[in-house]
């Protein structure tokens, strides 16, 4: 009995204390806070070129850098499949400008310091992406087994002229306006159009630069496949309406449970509230993004979580009506309903897992929430709710069938 009181009091305290802070920390999707989402299809600029995993990754990174440079908050850029990039940006004032900037291909330049440039500034463009042989940049190791990047230039004479002029000087590599690593020095005049760049790079750094050069040599063309743009006011409106709907629906469900099942119904309601709180906690900890279909899954999940409690309580009532004592009714009810609920939930998880594997965007998010919710429901509405009830019965707090909503007249003699 003491453990029951302590558990309930502590949990209520923790939930009451943390909930406002937690709610603020939930990351909202674009449909709830405003912003836009674009799905790009990427293909090489030249029809003959091939699209590699590395160039897609590089393009995505360059999009993210550009979005950051434009001062947008937390841009999210992810690659999907073999040729897609999904971009999510919130809080943009000039959407048209951002979209135009994003679609421009990534520009690779090798630059030298022009006369009058401050130290560390390189403004004279010596080589552009199209000067490089496509896909030729690679990582190899020098005599001392240090990683270095080998590159190939199409126009040997041009490269010879540049290396001759810049001998002993630095040649900086830029993607768009971002400087990649410390600018290497030109050590020799190179006449065969081939060069290797070394500079104490780690293998990963070298790979990164080689990939960037390859991307610059063959930039990807991005076409918008899908776009969604939500105004901030509209997003807020959707959030408010849906949350309000959820609260009203949930309250009715809780009242229904308490009315139907009396004290066990109150315990079930407590388990449901704990379930919801845990779900929000998981959202914050795992940094999930809450979207509109996500809220819908959330609310429906509450409805389905109630099912576990209903099955248990109906079963307990049934056992009581057959004439069993309260304790053995609760034990038998918990045991049989456990198996029923598990079988039902596992089949639902199978459906959700398939949605997660096959779905994209909203469908994937919805499926994930459903899975998390079912797992949490098993913990709170099966294990936890069963435990609460058993403790109360053992402590003698529940002695009469009436407290379970069972009429004495319905109980058949054993």
């Amino acid at each position: 009995m003491l453990s029951f009181i302590i558990t309930v009091v502590v949990l209520t305290g923790v939930m009451g204390f943390t909930t406002p802070g937690l709610l603020d920390k939930v990351r909202l999707g674009l449909d709830l806070k405003g912003g836009f989402e674009i799905l790009y299809h990427a293909e090489p600029m030249d029809t003959g070129g091939t699209l590699t995993r590395a160039s897609l990754q590089k393009t995505a990174e360059s999009l993210e850098k550009r979005a950051n440079a434009l001062g947008t908050s937390e841009p999210e850029v992810t690659t999907e499949g073999t040729d897609r990039i999904r971009l999510k940006i919130a809080g943009v004032t000039d959407e048209a400008e951002v979209r135009k900037k994003m679609k421009e291909p990534a520009v690779l330049t090798f630059r030298s310091a022009a006369d009058g440039d401050a130290p560390g500034v390189f403004s004279k463009i010596e080589l552009v992406g199209s000067d490089f042989v496509e896909g030729a940049a690679d990582v190899q190791r020098d005599n001392l087994n240090r990683p270095e990047i080998s590159i190939s230039i199409k126009d040997k004479d041009k490269f010879a002229e540049i290396t001759e002029r810049l001998l002993g000087k630095q040649l900086a590599i830029y993607l768009d306006e971002t400087l990649l690593s410390d600018p290497p020095y030109v050590r020799a005049v190179l006449t065969d159009g081939k060069a290797s760049i070394s500079g104490g790079y780690t293998l990963d750094e070298a790979r990164e630069i080689a990939d960037t050069i390859n991307l610059g040599a063959l930039p990807l063309k991005l076409t918008e496949k899908y776009s969604q743009s939500v105004g901030a006011t509209l997003g807020k409106q959707s959030l408010d309406q849906t949350v309000r709907a959820g609260i009203v629906g949930s309250l009715i469900i809780l009242v229904f449970m308490m009315f139907m099942y009396r004290l066990p119904g109150v315990l079930a309601s407590f388990a449901l509230i704990l379930h919801t709180w845990l779900l929000i906690l998981v959202f914050v900890i795992a940094d999930f993004t809450l979207t509109l279909p996500g809220i819908a899954a959330f609310i429906l999940g509450i409805g389905m979580a109630v099912d576990a409690n209903i099955i248990t309580n109906e079963r307990i009532r049934e056992e009581m009506r057959s004439g069993k004592s309260i304790l053995s009714s609760v034990k038998a009810g918990n045991k049989t309903s456990f198996r029923t609920v598990m079988d039902a939930n596992v089949t639902t998880i199978i459906v959700a897992a398939v949605m997660f594997a096959f779905g994209t965007g909203a469908v994937k998010g919805f499926a994930l929430i459903l899975i998390v919710e079912i797992v949490l429901s098993i913990v709170t509405n099966l294990y936890f709710a069963h435990w609460l009830l058993t403790v109360l019965v053992k402590a003698g707090a529940l002695k009469k069938p009436k407290q379970f909503g069972v009429k004495e007249s319905d109980i058949s003699a054993l």
Binding site: G34, L39, E95, A96, K100, K225, Y226, S227, Q228, S229, V230, G231, A232, L234, Q237, S238, L239, Q241, T242, A245, G246, V248, G249, S250, I252, F256, L292, P293, A296, A297, I299, L300, I302, G303, M304, V306, D307, I310, I311, E314, R339, D343, A344, N345, V346, T347, T348, I350, V351, A353, V354, M355, F358, G359, T360, A362, V363, F366, A367, L370
Partner: protein
Amino acid sequence: MRFKKELDFVHLSKFFYIFSIAITVAGLVFLATFGLNYSVDFKAGSNVDVALSKSITLAQLQPALDEAGIGHDPTITIGDQRVNIRYDEELDDTQSETLKAAITKIDDQASFEVNTVDTEMAKELARNAIYSVLLSSIGIIIYVSIRFEWRFALASIVALLHDAFMVVAVFSIFRLEVDITFIVAVLTIIGYSINDTIVIFDRIRENLRFGKQRSYEDLKALVNKSVSQTLMRSLYTAFTVFIAAFFLLIMGGESIKMFSLAMVIGLLFGAYSSIFIASPLWLLLKKRQKTPVKSNPAKA
């Protein structure tokens, strides 16, 4: 709240079979002739949703659209402080910006939601959804066959496909708009439907363990008993989930209206099919089993 007298669900189901078959046929006819009313998620084009600070009329809006100078005629739906403009062709970003600017002139509080989809993407979404349903079905068949027996698996699959199709049929017959959230709704309904059905099957499985069922009459009585034992639970659960979906429908955001509607319809069919379709169907399959009927077909 208990039914003192047990209803003969098996007998009643004959009428419900007819009811379901009738809707299925009507649904197929409508799907074949009119198809579904696809939103931009499935049909190339752009959808512009505008929230306004005041209600406006078509006459006020039209000049702005003309001014934006986007050729093709859009479908316009005007609501309370809300306008939906739907183009059958994709708007590029310049066009959508022009349109926004023109509408902002009428109401500087206007807030927009613009969705544009390429047909290829849409087809892919639909294809993925159908694969999801088929794959989930296979997963369910395997799991239920292991935990129960194949007859339960088959009957539950029929029930869930029935529920999914009923929603599609209703959406086709009443020309309701089908968007990406509709897919989510149908998949959730399938999840709910199987959940609901399994609980009743679990009871049949349990009752099968007690005593031998020698005749069809015994089996029939067993199904009726199992359904009525779980009836209150089926109704209560259907009620609570229905409440959640119903409030989403009447109070939730505009963009999940269709989702909630699909859920509400699907939930009702889900509860109905578990009682009147799935269990009697299992009985029908069981009846064909070669004699003598065993008392313990599945071990848990």
